[in-house]
Every structure is written in C-alpha cells, then in structure tokens.
C-alpha cells in the first residue's frame, strides 16, 4: 500500500478515536477521490479506530458518551463510503440479529454492542427494544443462519430469553444459529441454563464472542 493510502487510513482511524466527525467525513471524501477501495477504508481505517475506542472503553478512559460520539463519526464517514462499495457476493458478512428482549426498555447497551459489531465487520439487523420472542424467530427464518444476540438490563425479563431459544428449537432453526446473551443481570451460568451458546459481559466481550461463534456456524464462510 502506498504512503498516501496509509496516511489516509490513519486519518480515518484518528478522526473516529478523537470524535472528529468533520475530519472523518473529509477523510472519507478524500478516499473516494483517490480511488481507494471503500471497504478497505472502512475495515482498515474507521473500524481500526473503533477498535481502539473499544480498548479505551475497556481501560476506563472512554465511557458511553465517547463511544456514541466516536460511532457518530464512524457512521457519518460510512455514509460517504458506502454508495461506492461494489457488492461482491463472495464476501458476504456474518449476520447478527440483535435485540433487547420483550418487556425491556433499556437499549443503550445493545446499541453499543451493535456499534462494535458493525465496526468488526458483522452485518447487524437491529430489531430494537421490547422485541417479542416471535419476532426473533421470524427474523431468524428470513435470515436463514447467523448469530442472534439477546440483551437485557432487567431481571424481570430474563426468562423471556429462554423463550427465544425455545422458539428457535420449535421452528427447527436452532442448529442454524449461535445465540449469545448479555446485559446486567445475565451470567455465563444463566446462558448455559437457558441453552444459549455464550455470554458477553460487555461490548468488547460480545465482539470476541461473536467472532468465535461465527466459526461454529454451519456451511458459512466467516470472511
């Protein structure tokens, strides 16, 4: 890779880490002008920056406000780059169906997991908050295979997570999906108890978990 491209990738990453939305958009425009592959600009520029943001969060230097503003910069630059991506079916990303389960009002944690998963190259289908078990099953049927991420912050709604696992089983879809759970009151023991495949305690763990679960998916290249 030539020096100009390297500088540009570093600039994309820097702009994300430093919450510089204008800088990120300007660098994305420059990448298009220079004919850089937009997918590389995203994965090696913006996503690299967002990974660094994840590290800063884990070290207690960044918190939720910083993550949100960094991700705003990332998405603003992606909006510039995305129309220029030439779709190649060979590199289909792993799909993650994400949602906060029925009866739960909190979606902040889920939104952060979504940001970090997208930065890591997953294609996220966000079902939002207060999602019924049937909606997860319907989305799973449409997607065919992938990862399902369930989160909750409220102990009152934990049992509804088991309903999703059960619903997938009854629909004959369980084997096509890896299920991960997270959120305040959940634990690895609870994940085992309800028959999920893994538990992530925070956004960083959720991404690592998704990467390892993607390797277990049937008949799917993880890219």
């Amino acid at each position: 890779m030539d020096t100009t491209s390297e500088i540009l990738l570093k600039e994309l990453a820097r702009a994300v880490v430093e919450m510089d939305e204008e800088g990120a958009v300007a660098a994305a425009c420059r990448a298009i002008e220079l004919g850089m592959d937009p997918q590389i600009a995203i994965s090696e520029g913006l996503s690299a920056g967002m990974r660094k943001v994840g590290e800063l969060y884990e070290r207690g230097e960044y918190f939720v406000p910083e993550i949100l503003i960094c991700s705003d910069a990332m998405y603003a630059a992606i909006d510039v780059l995305e129309p220029h991506i030439k779709v190649s079916p060979a590199r289909r990303p792993v799909r993650v169906i994400l949602g906060v389960i029925e009866g739960d009002i909190h979606d902040l944690g889920k939104n952060i997991v979504k940001i970090m998963l997208e930065a890591a190259g997953f294609e996220v289908e966000d079902l939002g908050r207060d999602v019924k078990a049937e909606s997860f099953v319907r989305a799973a049927r449409e997607t065919g295979s992938g990862i399902i991420g369930l989160s909750t912050l409220m102990s009152t709604t934990m049992d509804n997570m088991a309903k999703v696992v059960q619903g997938l089983r009854e629909a004959g879809l369980r084997k096509n999906f890896q299920i991960m759970i997270g959120g305040g009151p959940t634990s690895p023991a609870f994940a085992r108890e309800i028959g999920a495949d893994g538990h992530g305690a925070n956004a960083t763990e959720a991404v690592e978990l998704a990467e390892s679960l993607a390797g277990r998916l049937p008949c799917l290249k993880t890219g």
């Binding site: 919450m19 207690g60 230097e61 960044y62 918190f63 939720v64 406000p65 910083e66 949100l68 503003i69 705003d72 009866g103 009002i105 902040l108 939104n111 207060d130 409220m154 102990s155 009152t156 709604t157 934990m158 305040g184 009151p185 959940t186 634990s187 609870f190």
Partner: protein, 344 residues
C-alpha cells in the same frame, strides 16, 4: 434465631442518632414487587396512590422489613415535565417520547410542581402508608435526581452526546430538573416521607468520573444540601458499577450511599467514617434466581463487612428487588439479618 427487640421505626431512629440497636436495619428495595405479591398489576399500582400504599403495607406485613420504599418507575418526574411514557400492563412504564428532541422544545418544557403528572400518586401513597403503619415503620419515597430526570427528558443517548456537543443544553435541563427535584423532595417530606435520591443513569456503567463531577455532582450536592436543611439525612442510591465514581459520591453530602454492583469491602474502606453504606445483596443472581441458602450466605458475609463500617451499615438489596423474586428469598434475607446482623 434471635427475636427482634425493636420496631423498624425505633431501629431507624436509633440508627440516625447513633444509639444502640438490636440488629442491622434491613432494607430490601421492594418497589414493584409489592404489587406482584399483592396480586395487583403494575399498571394499576403506579397510577393510584391508595393501591400503591396498600401493596406496600401488605409487603411490610409479610416481610417485616425496616423501611417502606414507595416507588414505581424512573420517568415520573420527566413525565410531569412533558415526556411521554408507554405503559405496559404489568411492567414498569418506559420513555416513549422525550420532551426535548431539539432546542426549540425547551420553551415547552414545564417546571413541574408536585401536583403534576403522577407525582401526586406517590405523595398519596406516602400519606396513606404513613397513616396506616407509620407508627411502627418509616415510609420513604425514591425519586429521581437531576441527571436521571434530564436523561428522561432528552433520552439517555442524546443526553450522553450533549455532554460533549451541547453542554449549555445539558446544564439547562439539569438546572430546571434540580428545581423540580427540590420541590418534590419538600413535598415528600411534607407528606411524612423520607426522600431517597436515585440517580440510575449517573452510574459508572455509563459515565466516567470526570463527567460525573461536571454534570452530576454539583446538582446532587445542591439537592442533598436542600434536603439536609429540612433536617432530613440525604440518602443516595446509584445502581450498576459505581467503584470509579464512589469518591465523588462520597463528596455529594449524602449521609448514606446505597450501592449495587460493587465490592462492599472496598466501598467500606473508601467510605471510612465519612458516610454510611447500604447494600448489596445481588438482585438478579441471588434474590431472583438464588435459593434461600444463597441469600443467607450473602447476608452473612455482608453483615460481617457491615460491622466494620465506621459510619454505619444497612443491609439492603443492590437495586430494586426484582418483581418476580420468590418471597422465601426475602424471608431468608430478614431471617439472615436477625441471625448474622445482631448488634446487642
């Protein structure tokens, strides 16, 4: 098992005045669970002060805990100021439409009084409970601190962005919320209740210490000073992980910190003789999903830590007692404090 020799009210007064007590106070944060064990839907409980009070009286008769805690949901203050909520039939209401989506909305924002929205429901619940059982058990009322009110006026994620992008807007919302909070604290005290300041959005799970000191602490300090001027000790509850913001919480002027996902031993060491501590039987893992034996084991270890708290300790739940908590686990919590929390 040893028997109680004081009523909750006598015990609470002894705690506040530093006099001898028979055992630690035991305050599981029974909120919406009071509706569940009374066979009342949460949507009826949170809109009728008499119903709310009856549920809490029933819960008190059943468990014999040391403080009735009137509360339902975190958005009531913001609702009185203009945010719209959605009411599920049997769960807590959630923020549906924040009052402030852009700066133009600020002019429509109401400086709510304790007569607005559902705030009177809480006040009626306090008065009803206090007149029925107030001679044996104190009645408290949780209400939201300015930062959590502002978050429910704006949406948590938007307020989080405002901390960088629009500080004047954040401070405007916080200042207005503070005035509403002060008035409501006064109304709680006038109704015969003890105000418990709750600031769930200001948790260390969301904010760093620097942000806490800039956007949360000054407003908490003013609210706590206001409550203290009424001759009432300010009590502060912040859920989630709070170890990084604990020092700032200690500086807030609260007489007692109710803590959730934190090592009580570490909190005890940091609090020293500056503030009393309350907590922190784990709500989900232990109270909801554990066995009575699990509860007893946790109570035992917390009581031994509590004995070394220089400014006092109350056995509590880390956060709200989950709605569906098995009653035998709360009974175990009370049995445990009588067994392991004996003081004289």
């Amino acid at each position: 098992m040893s028997e109680d020799r004081m009523t909750p009210k006598e015990r609470f007064q002894a705690f506040l005045s530093g006099k001898p007590m028979d055992r630690f106070l035991c305050v599981p944060l029974i909120l919406n669970h009071a509706a569940r064990i009374s066979g009342v839907k949460v949507s009826e409980y949170n809109r009728d002060g008499r119903v709310m009070a009856e549920c809490h009286i029933r819960a008190y008769r059943r468990y014999g805990h040391d403080l009735i805690t009137i509360f339902s949901d975190t958005a009531i203050t913001a609702e009185a100021m203009g945010s719209e909520l959605h009411y599920p039939e049997d769960d807590v209401p959630r923020l549906e439409r924040p009052a402030v989506t852009d700066a133009a909305d600020l002019s429509r924002l109401v400086r709510a009084t304790p007569a607005d929205g559902r705030l009177p429901v809480y006040l009626e619940a306090i008065r009803t409970a206090a007149s029925a059982v107030g001679d044996e058990v104190p009645v408290a009322c949780c209400f939201m601190a300015p930062f959590s009110v502002a978050a429910m006026l704006r949406g948590v994620d938007m307020l989080a962005r405002d901390l960088y992008r629009n500080k004047p807007l954040a401070h405007h919302l916080l200042s207005l919320s503070l005035e509403v909070c002060k008035d409501f604290a006064d109304a709680i005290i006038d109704a015969g209740g003890i105000p418990i300041v709750g600031d769930p959005v200001a948790t260390g799970s969301i904010l760093g210490e620097r942000q806490f000191r800039e956007f949360v602490l000054p407003y908490l300090q003013e609210l706590h000073a206001h409550i203290a001027r009424r001759g009432v000790p300010p009590l502060l509850h912040i859920c989630g992980q709070t170890i990084r913001i604990l020092d700032a919480m200690i500086e807030s002027g609260a007489a007692l910190l109710s803590l959730d996902d934190i090592s009580m031993a570490e909190a005890r060491d940091r609090a020293g003789d500056k503030v009393a501590l309350m907590g922190n039987v784990r709500p989900a893992q232990t109270l909801l999903r554990g066995s009575p034996e699990d509860v007893l084991a946790e109570v035992r270890s917390l009581c031994s830590i509590g004995r070394e708290c220089k400014s006092g300790f109350i056995l509590g739940s880390g956060c709200e007692v989950p709605i569906g908590t098995p009653p035998e686990n709360l009974e175990a919590m009370l049995a445990g404090v009588r067994e392991y929390g004996r003081l004289s």
